[in-house]
């Protein structure tokens, strides 16, 4: 037994290494949505308000996406400890990922029911630890990472509650918390709770008092949502990305639903689209397709019918929220489903191990796992770092190093095509939240919680301004204009007598930003 605990510890340490190694450097740069969490956490820490001056928001307005709050609140501590760094912004996600590995082990120990369930539980934890989907999203400031961890924790407690009812209210509380962690869980949890009770109605209806307590706790946890339900903020994200714009396209929803079960999307590279993890890599390693189908074949051998019902229920309901959106395949929205698939893959691997000569199979599986991790290292830690740096605003982060050399200049950065520029600078330079609040508050055209949100914002951080370019600026002295390659053409630079100052390249050596000194003709 001791060696199994040591193995679990090793797996958790390995998971932590994969998630925390160069966390602040890969992905290179920081996405606008990531920096939104970081800056809001910093602002809350300093002033108790977000960057718009709202005290302890229920949802964070953040460029109109109304980010679920839990991630930001939990980020306050890492920002306090590690400062305004990219590492601090991603810390909660990485930690949630490591905790998920432990939850997977505990859940597998709970649901699998045979003599060697410990081995299967260790394999389940290992699969989650090394799977591309898990590492990729845990290394981003992704609310979905936190969402899946809290959601699976609630499922764990729901399974505990099937033996002791006292766990039921705890499970309901955690499920309620998950609705504040990520968008998908808002819909999934509302479908899950009553369905779960109905599924085990013979058991639960004999414990009505606990049901009432649990349901009450869950409903209380939803009160913050209900308080802003009529403002349009709660459903803003669904309106932004959803299919339900005044009509119900059942055919489209079914098609979207099916895509989340397509083995092509799960085990192979989906190409250049939103659903891509990294180059030449699927959500799972390609060879996992064999244990996946094997796991489907043998899963009922290791589970009793009750727990099998739970898994089947989760498989059916977890893709529902993602199916309502317009994107054809977006794994972040179905991490709960992908986690279930990880368990099935673990069952498949164990079944293969049981069927074939053990030593040979073990060596083969260990080799396959090592090769997989190696291929992930090349795909993510090497290629992804370089090829996707532009998607994470790397150039704008690197730009700051150049701008420090020009403290006496007024610097204007074109934010037409990159709405997160100003916020990145504010976060990384620890710009005073109170000053930023007054800037952004004055730009709010609608109430804080609203279905109508102006996405573009102008920032003034010291000598740096981020806004749309106005060619009037070319007439001012001691000014540097910075923009992407579409901001200023060679003809425009000549026309306005601009002098080339410096270029900023991305990691692959492509010029992504150009800076010009103004040179007004008197």
């Amino acid at each position: 037994m001791k060696y199994k605990k040591r193995l679990l510890l090793l797996i958790i340490i390995f998971a932590a290494c994969l998630r925390f190694y160069k966390l602040g450097e890969i992905p290179a740069g920081i996405h606008a949505d990531e920096v939104s969490h970081g800056y809001n956490a910093f602002s809350l820490m300093e002033t108790g308000k977000d960057r718009y001056g709202q005290s302890f928001p229920i949802l964070f307005r953040s460029f109109g996406s109304y980010q679920p709050p839990l991630y930001t609140y939990l980020s306050i501590l890492p920002v306090k400890v590690f400062g305004n760094t990219i590492f601090a912004a991603r810390f909660v996600s990485a930690t949630a990922g490591v905790i998920l590995v432990l939850i997977t082990y505990l859940f597998a120990m709970q649901i699998f029911n045979f003599k060697y369930k410990n081995k299967l539980a260790l394999i389940s934890a290992f699969i989650v630890a090394i799977s591309p989907w898990s590492i990729f999203f845990n290394r981003l400031t992704a609310e979905g990472s936190l969402g899946v961890t809290i959601f699976t924790l609630s499922i764990l407690f729901f399974t505990y509650s099937l033996k002791k009812m006292i766990y039921f209210p705890i499970a309901c509380l955690i499920l309620g918390l998950s609705t504040h962690a990520y968008y998908s869980e808002r819909i999934i949890s509302i479908i899950l709770l009553p369905t779960f009770i109905l599924l085990f109605r013979d058991y639960f209806f004999n414990n009505k008092r606990w049901i009432l307590v649990g349901l009450s706790i869950f409903l209380v946890s939803l009160i913050p949502h209900l308080l802003i339900a009529s403002s349009g903020a709660l459903t803003k994200r669904l309106v932004q990305v959803g299919l339900l714009n005044g009509y119900f396209p059942l055919g489209e929803i079914i098609k979207r639903y099916i895509t989340y079960f397509s083995p092509t999307n799960l085990f192979f590279d989906t190409g250049e689209n939103l659903g891509r993890i990294s180059s030449d890599m699927g959500i799972f390693y390609s060879w996992f397709i064999i244990p996946f189908f094997t796991g489907i074949r043998f899963i009922n051998k290791y589970l009793n019918i009750g727990y099998l019902k739970i898994l089947v229920l989760l498989i059916f309901i977890t893709p529902v929220s993602a199916a309502l959106t317009g994107d054809s395949f977006y794994p972040l929205r179905v991490l709960d489903l992908i986690w279930i698939f990880s368990l099935i893959i673990a069952v498949g691997i164990y079944s293969i191990y049981e069927t074939f000569p053990k030593k040979f199979t073990l060596i083969l599986l260990v080799l396959a796992s090592l090769l997989s991790v190696w291929s992930f290292y090349i795909s993510y830690f090497v290629l992804f770092k370089y090829e996707r740096a532009k998607d994470y605003g790397y150039s704008y982060v690197f730009l700051l190093k150049h701008l420090k050399k020009y403290p006496e200049y007024r610097i204007i950065i074109d934010s037409t095509r990159e709405y997160g520029v100003g916020l990145r600078i504010a976060y990384l330079t620890r710009y005073n939240p109170a000053d930023l609040q007054s800037q952004l508050q004055s730009q709010l055209k609608t109430p804080y919680y609203s279905s109508d949100v102006n996405m573009h914002e102008n920032y003034k951080i010291g000598n740096i301004e981020t806004r749309f370019f106005d060619w009037e600026e070319a007439n001012h002295k001691n000014t540097i204009l910075v923009g992407d390659i579409l901001s200023v053409s060679d003809i425009q630079a000549k026309e306005h007598h601009l002098i080339h100052a410096f270029d900023v390249e991305d990691l692959t050596g492509n010029i992504t930003l150009r800076a010009y000194f103004t040179n007004p003709v008197e």
């Binding site: 397509s262 083995p263 092509t264 085990f267 489907i296 074949r297």
Partner: protein, 210 residues
């Protein structure tokens, strides 16, 4: 036997994929339907002793015909060399590998692995992924109505999966990796399995309803 015939006949009549195969190549269409029927009979345990050997031979012959046709019409010529549109990507990646791996990359093994082996493996696996593309099958080629039958049929097939089926699947996977997606007829190499699964699913659901 007659029920299976009726099932396969009905499924193929409703499916636009079958019609498109027939319109392009009648012979291949007939092979696909015959093979689907034979597989369906096999999966439903229709095995009169006298016909067993004939069925096995027929299955192998028909599959060989489909494989040969697929090879001749959609063999992926870019598998063993880099396509023009990929060349720039590979060049850039050479710089990246050189920077990141230094002498670990800059040797015969490293260069061969990263510049030749890896693109080949990626391309090969991308080709294999085509036969698993549910979107491509159920949105472009088959009516959504068939989906529940297909899933039921595939579940049943997983239950009765044995070494023989495993060998067939391995061969199909190996062959699929060599084929591109440009075949007008689609992934005909898995057509018989899909249609037989639909037939099995249909049978199972019918039996349940009784």
């Amino acid at each position: 036997m007659i029920r299976n015939l009726v099932i396969i006949g009905s499924i193929t009549l409703i499916s636009s994929w079958t019609w498109s195969i027939f319109s392009q190549n009648l012979f291949i269409g007939i092979c696909c339907i015959l093979l689907s029927l034979l597989l369906l009979l096999n999966f439903n345990n229709y095995k009169p002793v006298l016909l067993q050997r004939f069925m096995q031979t027929a299955v192998i012959c028909l599959w060989v015909i489909l494989a040969v046709y697929s090879f001749t019409t959609s063999f992926d010529k870019n598998l063993f060399h880099i396509a023009e549109n990929q060349y720039i990507v590979v060049l850039k990646r050479q710089e990246i590998y050189s920077r990141e791996f230094n002498s670990f990359y800059r040797n015969r093994f490293g260069i061969n692995y990263f510049n030749k082996m890896q693109p080949f493996l990626n391309r090969y696996s991308a080709n294999i992924s085509n036969i698993f593309d549910l979107e491509n099958l159920f949105i472009s080629r088959l009516p959504l109505l068939f989906l529940p039958f297909t899933i039921t049929g595939l579940f049943y097939l997983l239950k009765i999966f044995n070494k023989q089926y495993a060998y067939i699947m391995i061969i199909i996977l190996v062959i699929s990796g060599l084929l591109n997606t440009k075949n007008i007829l689609g992934p005909i190499i898995i057509y018989p399995i899909i249609y037989a699964s639909i037939g099995v699913g249909f049978n199972k659901l019918l039996n349940l309803m009784r």
